[in-house]
């Protein structure tokens, strides 16, 4: 790990025990997150992006999961960390927010109870002090009338407010890394923009790194500096956000960009990626995207392409596009 890296994932492979044996959900995924950097992890449902994120905090059910590879955080491998150390890390230095705030909040505890619980778990702080901190945190995430709202139960809050409470809990212990798994997918666009602005401000204020997981490239363009695109359990492209949108070096990335319905241009038909994710990744020998790819050539079927590192940073798994683009390897 270099000194400006906060987290490095290398060769992460995750397998789950299914009814018919072990299924590979994530295969040989590597990327790193710099200090104060925002990274986007993009892909369709089932591409392995959430599985990757859960692995960072080692949140998988141990009996039915097989994980290999390394996830280094300040010289420690979170995959082999003892349970006690791991518990201190979770919600402390590395915090996570999820798509559906209602199912991550406890319905029978007030907002105050839940934030105080987090604070007291990680810090030696009295109940009354923790309560004051809870109100401060709600103000920080711009919940109006925080002193009153702190005693509400989650069901009394709107979706956007619940997500703000989740964010308040996540930043309660000033994490160095915030993992946000589809934090705005369940919200209205108007609220989504507000939450993204909030996250951006908090990221600057608290100087934390953010790993943002989403399938929405519009959100990615707004928020992150670097993007990792996943398809069928593999990283297929990594690029600085500008380069990804200007010159995607994988047909799948191109497809995702094209599929966004434009707001200012009329199109009677949207550009879609035909087909869907393959059920199982082991069947064919060639590129995993080949069945849906509009740019395939005969060699794509023969062997699985490996990730090509590019000279100006980033990588791609499509030799054809890399060749055509003239970008130096």
């Amino acid at each position: 790990m270099t000194s400006d890296e906060l987290l490095r994932v290398s060769g992460l492979t995750v397998k789950f025990l299914g009814e018919s044996g072990w299924l590979t959900a994530v295969e040989d995924v590597s990327f790193s997150i710099g200090k104060k950097e925002c990274i986007g992890l993009v892909g369709e449902s089932g591409s392995g992006k959430s599985v990757t994120a859960l692995s960072v905090l080692n949140l998988h059910e141990r009996r039915t999961t097989e994980i290999s590879g390394r996830i280094e955080y300040f010289g420690k491998n979170t995959l082999t960390l003892p349970a006690n150390d791991l518990r201190r890390l979770r919600g402390g230095e590395i915090a996570m927010i999820f798509q559906d705030p209602m199912s991550s909040l406890n319905p029978v505890l007030t907002v105050a109870d839940q934030i105080i619980e987090t604070l007291q778990l990680h810090e030696n702080i009295s109940h009354s002090k923790a309560r004051l901190r809870a109100i401060e945190l709600l103000e920080l995430v711009r919940i109006p009338d925080a002193a009153r709202r702190v005693d509400e139960y989650p069901h009394r809050l709107s979706g956007g407010m619940r997500q703000r409470v989740m964010i308040a809990m996540a930043i309660a212990c000033k994490p160095k890394l915030l993992i946000a798994d589809e934090p705005t997918t369940a919200l209205d666009v108007t609220i989504q923009a507000e939450i993204l602005n909030l996250l951006r401000d908090l990221q600057n204020e608290l100087e934390m790194s953010v790993l943002l997981i989403t399938h929405d490239l519009g959100v990615i363009a707004e928020f992150v500096q670097r993007v990792v695109v996943m398809y069928a359990g593999q990283v297929i492209e990594e690029a600085p956000v500008m380069r990804l949108f200007d010159q995607p070096l994988h047909p799948y990335s191109q497809g995702l960009i094209n599929a966004i319905p434009p707001l200012h241009i009329d199109m009677r038909r949207l550009l879609s990626i035909p087909g869907q994710l393959p059920d199982s990744y082991e069947i064919h020998s060639g590129c995993r995207f080949v069945a849906r790819c509009t740019e395939r050539v005969s060699t794509c079927l023969n062997s699985q392409p490996s990730l090509i590192a590019l000279q100006n940073g980033g990588s791609s798994r499509c030799p054809i596009r890399v060749e055509l683009s003239g970008v130096q390897r």
Binding site: D188, V189, A193, A259, I260, P261, R268, Q276
Partner: protein
């Protein structure tokens, strides 16, 4: 313009909320005096935030809810004044596709039976016709041909939505309410399902009421777009007019909130505050609590829903 398939006039829907021991906890006005038409082969987009009343309108239009006030005419006849048989005949021509296809499919039913359910209920299909029609529907919505024996959990979200669409078109309807059909899908699947709906519209001459919270998706399916806020339509206009010159500040705000896939460009701007409670709506214009242009008059007077040009309607004090 040809005569409307659906004509809605002065539609209102209130829900009585029950408190403890049967006391009333207030009246929630979900839909407040809404009027619009949809003509044959046309799509009306209906946009708004959660809680704006757009899904309630969808349910009213297909007869799943009974309006407190107002008229819903389908093919020129009121859907409520008829006897049960007449209602059934109309209802057959009017179908609905829901947001969550998993929630609307029976997990223990093979999908060929799920798709055939409307056919069975209609009682007009012999076993052979039924099998043929199911095969035809599966092909029409682009599902794999041999998928009839599978269960709904074996399908991806996009495919489940195709099953939902197959059920909706099974009885050759003229009109379909699409209630957030793509909101739960990934962008790539979203584009596929939108294109499928467009293809079916052309092939089967369908009219849609397309409900969504995403203005970008609505643009590509709709001929006209209505924007709802707190139970009222605040702006209704032909697609091009609405997107090139939105008049209502709320429509403008909705557009500014869409994140654009262009890094480094201007950032999306949210609308501060929340959708007001319909139990206790703000006085005057319901949007004045969040509106950047709000002034004294907005807090007192409810703006009229007025025609500003031939097909452009808006409810705002500041529009001439």
């Amino acid at each position: 313009m040809n005569s409307p398939i659906l004509s809605v006039k002065g539609l209102s829907m209130s829900f009585e909320l029950k408190g403890s021991w049967g006391r009333s906890a207030g009246t929630l006005r979900a839909v407040d005096n809404v009027s619009f038409d949809i003509s044959s082969g046309e799509t009306l987009g209906l946009v708004g935030e959660s809680g704006s009343g757009k899904s309630t309108i969808g349910r009213l239009v297909v007869g799943l809810l009974k309006p407190t006030q107002g008229e819903i005419q389908m093919f020129g006849t009121d859907i409520r004044q008829n006897n049960a048989d007449a209602f059934k005949a109309i209802r057959r021509k009017v179908q609905i596709v829901f947001q969550d296809p998993q929630g609307s499919l029976n997990p223990r039913m093979r999908i060929e039976n799920a798709i055939a359910e409307p056919l069975d209920i209609s009682g007009q299909y012999s076993p052979i016709e039924r099998a043929d029609r199911v095969k035809e529907l599966i092909e029409l919505v682009g599902l794999p041909r041999d998928c009839g024996k599978r269960f709904s959990h074996e399908f991806s979200g996009g495919q489940r939505q195709r099953i939902g669409i197959a059920r909706a078109i099974a009885l050759n309807p003229a009109f379909i309410v699409c209630d957030e059909p793509v909101s739960a899908l990934d962008v790539s699947m979203q584009a596929q399902v939108v294109n499928l709906l467009l293809d079916l519209q052309e092939k089967l001459n369908l009219s849609y009421l397309f409900i969504a919270h995403d203005l970008a998706v609505v643009r590509h399916v709709s001929s006209r777009v209505a924007v709802m806020y707190a139970g009222r339509i605040v702006e209704l206009a032909p697609r091009l007019d609405l997107y090139s010159k939105p008049l209502h500040p709320y429509t403008q705000a909705l557009m500014d909130a869409v994140p654009l896939p262009r890094p480094g460009m201007q950032k999306a701007v949210g609308v501060p505050g929340e959708v007001p409670s319909l139990l206790n709506p703000p006085s005057g214009c319901a949007f004045h609590t969040r509106c950047p242009r709000a002034s004294q008059i907005c807090t007192v007077d409810k703006p009229d829903y007025r025609q500003v040009s031939q097909e452009h309607f808006v409810a705002c004090h500041f529009i001439e």
